[in-house]
């Protein structure tokens, strides 16, 4: 069901209407730029509406900690300004042995250096935060009360609404088919609903990045592949039953929390791919139930309402690709979020808007350099779960 008309021309065109594309358009429009988002299906339909809702600063390297610190500031600010659910209910990493504790102590030191109040707590303190936890095997926990979660639906819809108020155009049910390039300069895009003249293109398609790069004729090696990850939600239970995002690497690389609607949402490290298939599997339902009920035994008696799948658009080092591609004028990529697109989006929007409008940014965009793969300078793997 096509909605709005494709404009004839737009200074900047963002391909992909997930949270990343929408917040980039929001930020650019807010800065007075003429911007259009082209989305193949509906806003959020790719990976955003399928995500696990978590927003954390507990990463294992300086760049991601800084990026996420800025993102959380923006999540807080915009959730108040635009009135959508974002709660700083924390992330609780359950740790089961000395090796895990050692690794997390190192992470905590990095996080503390940037003013993030993460600390190591006892199993008993963890149980005070989530009384339903089975802590019989837990030796410690890494706890940051300023991490949180947000509704992907309400947040993305609100950013889309306000982006439009700032003059951005959001065109749904429209698929980009080809680039119009003359002498290395982008002149426009051919879509399923006609041609748009444009000079600057931002590829925010995450799982579909390689297809858009191929259309653009990009030869730079940018390895982003889609992997199928699944999630589950249970029946709604009393609010406050599982406030933070609970993480357990021991039990299936699991993450779980309670949504604003009351259901327990989450996933485990059950990955398939690279693939564009998003069929939920029976095996996942078994795996996630096996692990979740070991972390919180009371979940045994809760009803599973449904499972679904989404993409982790992964790079070899699980860090995204953000920046300008020099072989085409003007082409930017903000993709390959490896499961962190939703949480990072607000800082990424600022980063990309800085790069497009000023050519530089104070945020650590260098860490996400698109040319690092070509140069063989992979980053340390970003801490990832699910």
């Amino acid at each position: 069901m096509p909605t709005k008309k494709l404009p004839e021309r737009s200074e900047i065109t963002v391909i992909g209407g997930g949270i990343v594309g929408v917040t980039i358009a929001h930020e650019l429009a807010k800065r007075g730029e003429e911007v259009t988002v082209i989305e193949k299906r509906f806003i959020g339909s790719g990976s955003t509406f399928r995500c696990g809702t978590g927003i954390r600063q507990q990463f294992n390297d300086e760049a991601n900690v800084q990026t996420m610190k800025r993102s959380v500031e923006l999540w807080k600010r915009y959730s108040e300004e635009y009135d959508f659910p974002f709660e700083q209910t924390g992330y609780l990493f359950l740790l089961y042995d000395d090796d895990e504790v050692k690794a997390f102590k190192r992470n905590i030191a990095i996080q503390n250096r940037f003013g993030i109040p993460t600390r190591l707590i006892t199993p008993e303190e963890a149980k005070e935060i989530v009384p339903l936890l089975d802590i019989s095997e837990v030796v410690a926990a890494s706890w940051n009360p300023t991490d949180g979660k947000a509704s992907p639906f309400h947040s993305t819809a609100k950013f889309a609404l306000h982006a439009e108020e700032f003059g951005a155009k959001l065109v749904e049910y429209t698929e980009v088919k080809d680039f119009i390039v003359e002498n290395g300069e982008i002149k426009g895009l051919k879509t399923s609903r006609g041609t748009i003249k444009t000079g600057i293109v931002i590829n925010a398609t995450n799982a579909w990045t390689k297809l858009i790069n191929a259309m653009a004729g990009i030869r730079t090696k940018i390895p982003i592949e889609p992997y199928k990850h699944q999630a589950v939600i249970t029946q709604p239970i009393k609010q406050g039953s599982v406030k933070p995002m609970v993480i357990s690497f021991r039990y299936g690389h699991a993450y779980l929390t309670q949504t604003a609607h009351g259901g327990i949402i989450g996933g485990v490290g059950y990955e398939e791919g690279p693939t564009y298939d998003l069929t939920p599997t029976y095996e996942f339902m078994r795996e996630v139930s096996y692990y979740f009920t070991r972390i919180i035994p009371a979940l045994r008696e809760l009803l599973i309402l449904r499972t679904w799948a989404g993409y982790y658009a992964k790079t070899p080092d699980s860090n995204p690709v953000i920046g300008k591609i020099e072989e085409l004028s003007d082409y930017y990529i903000a993709a390959g979020f490896s499961g962190h697109g939703f949480m990072m989006a607000l800082a990424v929007a600022e980063m990309v808007a800085d790069l497009v409008t000023k050519g530089r940014t104070d945020l650590p965009a260098w860490w996400y350099d698109p040319y690092r793969f070509e140069r063989g300078e992979l980053r340390g793997r970003a801490l990832q779960m699910g």
Binding site: P131, L132, F153, P280, Y282, R286, A298, L299, R300
Partner: protein
Amino acid sequence: MRPLDLTEKNPSKKVTIYFDGKPYEAYEGEKFPVAMLANGLYWLTTSTEGRRRGAFTFGPVPVKVNGVKNINGRKLVVKDSMRVERQRYDEFQEQIEIDEGKPILRYVVDVAVIGAGPAGLGAVEEIGGKLTVALIEERSWLGGDMWLKGVEQEGFGNPREAIEKLTNFPKNVRVFLKTTTLGVFDKGEYFLVPAVRNDQLIEFMAKRVVLATGAVDSIMLFENNDWPGVFRRSDALEVINVWNVAPGKRVAVTGAFPEEITPELDRWGIEYVVVPNPRRVEGEDRIERLIDENGNVYEVDAVIMADGRIPDINPITQAGGKVYFKRGYYRPVLDANHRIRDGIFVAGSAVSIKPHYANYLEGKLVGAYILREFGLEAEPCIYEEKLRDYEPVARPISKLPLDGFSSEDVQICGCGVTLKKVDDVVKSGITDLQIIKRLTHLAMGFCQGRFCLFNGALLVSQRSGTPMDRLDIPVARPPIKNVKMKVVAGRD
């Protein structure tokens, strides 16, 4: 006899159960909501928003049984001295007993037939004896919706006698009653059909699958349409003809298809009034009156929604099928052999709404197609020919009196989604059903849209002017019926 008993019950089965501390007469083996209804008690549970709910309309029915919370009251069977209490939807058992769990049962068959209504029974009759079959039925009886009927059915005559004839199965047919299918998964070599019976996981591995999963009653929108005492047609039929209990002393029949229930009410001498256009029901913990759109007031204690049936598209979309809109409802896109894709066949009211006998013939038809795929002799053309006599029922697309309702009192979905909540989003300019679903939680709860998605689509279509066939309809995800996490958590 209890106030709403239609017949004398077996005195040797008589027991006492306690509901919120008070004793009630009940019968061993009876369904708990039926026992309470017979005693004139409709309100069994309370939604998270604090709305009183019974067991015969939409929404889950969690109750506390012998001190344990979050037990499905709809399926609860009466036992002597059982103590049941009301609870709110969001209450759950925090301290639990961890049992060993039951081992997984596995069956390998040629064909898994899901649903034992006339279509499923027709398919089994056609292929039984020639191929191995697992017949999987969620309810406790065979014959589906037809088993609920007391009056003669076209083509069949007496419905119960016809079903008894159809259920004399050959040896290679295994029947699984009270077994809930969770979905259909393609494993390449076979289809995996996981199901649950009495908290035990069963895995069926089948070369072909028949979805004879039937239709659901349309939920009507009016103020307090979730009130205790509002009945779906199928639930009213079940309490009358399976349990011999009346829905009320004086009932109102509403909707476009009252004749789907009135002959049964006549048969038992249950007093009723037909009210085609209800606007509101009122009462305390049960219905006391119904008010129609013209302001007429009817003193009734039960309301039956008989507004036609629509195919349950959830099993279809979960299994990878597409749907289209025709004759007033969404239905599966089928190939020339009645398949949604290689290996998965659909028959009966899951395809289109038509008489029981036509559904049975359609079951026979897909049975014949399956025999042919296995290289066995079959003549599907016989059934193709006979089915030409049956034009599927067209369901009128009702125009919702959207602005005539106090829409915060109209429940579009049993999970606390009011008509107002959805309508406000639509009126704000968002007309994509996919987005509306996620902003309002419509079709994201216990029934996964089985009872509410259609009305959501209707609302969007009516407000936006987008025809029903142009809406982007969300697909169902596994499990297609809710399952307790512990049932699938086991490892072998």
